[in-house]
């Protein structure tokens, strides 16, 4: 805990700018109208009590539909069940319903929802719609941008159902619901001063991700530091590590690295 506050202190010096393009959560801001983003997420998770590494590959397409609405869809592949295979996908939408902009700052709020399908076996109490469970999630997110610093927090309701291919949610109906809550901090480190779009941006982020099961009261809390590089204002590369801080939920592989590559095409439609 001491280390955590120390980490916060180095991340928030008094004069800061910002970034809010988090890796594990979405900010309340939306994508530009008519833009399409392509992203490939890889996660390399260390399976507990085995020597196995779970590799997840998630390609995703995102589109800015209007200034308030964005949608995205992704597909899940992984080798968790020993062979690398397709396991499902999800659809996501986010609607920005509040925005208060000022020069170099904003406060925004958005509502979001996700529908996920997964055909793998249920193997943990944690409900994870990004490649493990079939289910739905909806919630709200608020993001504050203060020059080089961006703070974001979200709360959402998650409901798991049976997975595809007759893989039942084995923990029972009462344990199929949970509340997710997140807190993310992002800080623009470089450049010190913008001169043109070609400058490489370096962002540092820390995300906290929590879940509490509404049936059992069991929970987890993870931390995920991320280094992010944005090249030519169009290509993005994230490298992060997700680490469980505390958990009373049964989880298969909570710790590991993740890598994201993203490219944005503006004014496509």
């Amino acid at each position: 805990m001491k280390n955590f506050f120390f980490l916060l202190l180095i991340l928030i010096p008094p004069l800061v700018w910002s970034q809010e393009l988090y890796s594990l959560t979405e900010p309340a801001s939306n994508r530009a109208v008519g833009s399409i983003g392509f992203r490939i997420d890889h996660s390399i998770m260390d399976e507990l009590n085995t020597s196995k590494i779970n590799y997840h590959l998630i390609p995703e397409v995102m589109a800015g539909v209007s200034k308030k609405l964005m949608i995205s869809g992704n597909v899940f592949f992984s080798n968790r069940s020993d062979v690398f295979k397709y396991e499902g996908g999800s659809l996501y939408a986010k609607y920005r319903f509040f925005s208060n902009d000022a020069i170099q700052r904003h406060f925004r709020m958005a509502a979001f929802g996700r529908l996920s399908y997964n055909n793998s076996d249920i193997h943990q109490e944690e409900i994870a719609l990004n490649g493990h469970n079939t289910g739905m999630e909806w919630g709200i997110v608020a993001t504050q941008l203060l020059r080089k610093l961006a703070l974001s927090t979200s709360i959402s309701y998650v409901k798991a159902t049976d997975n595809g291919r007759n893989n039942k949610f084995i923990y029972g109906h009462d344990y199929s619901k949970a509340i997710n809550y997140t807190f993310s901090i992002g800080k623009l480190m470089l450049p010190k001063e913008y001169k043109d779009y070609k400058q490489t941006n370096l962002n540092l982020m820390v995300e906290f991700l929590g879940q509490v099961n509404s049936g059992s009261g069991d929970y987890y809390m993870d931390i995920a530091p991320v280094v992010q590089v944005i090249v030519s204002s169009q290509v993005r590369f994230d490298l992060g590590y997700r680490k469980e801080l505390k958990s009373t939920l049964l989880r298969t592989a909570p710790n590991g690295f993740f890598v994201r590559l993203e490219y944005i095409f503006f004014n496509v439609f």
Partner: protein, 166 residues
């Protein structure tokens, strides 16, 4: 009779010339962003407007200088909407307009192409040469100023009526 016709023609020409004001540039201050990726989104959105010739972005201050193609109508509202579509807001909007002996009176419209400008800051004057006017309608000024503005009518700007100050 011919002389009379000529006088009328010349007068008509002079009146037309007197009201013919031309927009040369628009200056935008964007707000709600501090990342170059965001600024780039605005830049690229502005570039898609059919009557826009060039966009010069100041990445450091999030300002954009927009110049226009010759003989085109400038739709100020469309420019503002493009910034909003990119996900941000306009908190400052000015236009450099070339006036030729144009008499401006409080709350009297000056027509520039399809746009109608209403000057709201007082005294009657004759404008000559390139003059920068600031738009004060909602959506063209900071959110705070918008809320207190007397000129907060998005329907007016949709219809091409803008309130401006010098």
């Amino acid at each position: 009779m011919n002389t009379m016709k000529n006088i009328l023609l010349v007068t008509a020409f002079l009146i037309a010339a007197a009201t013919k004001a031309q927009v040369t540039k628009v200056y935008i201050q964007a707000s709600g962003l501090t990342c170059s990726m965001c600024s780039n989104a605005i830049y690229k959105a502005l570039k898609t407007i059919d009557f826009v010739d060039r966009v010069d972005a100041n990445v450091k201050h999030y300002t954009f200088e927009v110049t226009f193609k010759a003989n085109t109508e400038v739709d100020f509202n469309k420019i503002k909407n493009k910034v909003e579509d990119a996900g941000f807001s306009v908190s400052g909007f000015s236009a450099s307009i070339y006036f030729n002996n144009t008499l401006v009176k409080e709350n009297q419209e000056i027509k520039i192409g399809n746009a109608r400008l209403l000057f709201v800051n007082g005294k009657d004057q004759t404008l000559n040469g390139e003059i920068k006017v600031r738009f004060v309608d909602r959506g063209f000024v900071p959110a705070k100023e918008s809320r207190n503005s007397r000129h907060s009518s998005p329907t007016a700007t949709e219809a091409g009526i803008y309130h401006v100050t010098i």
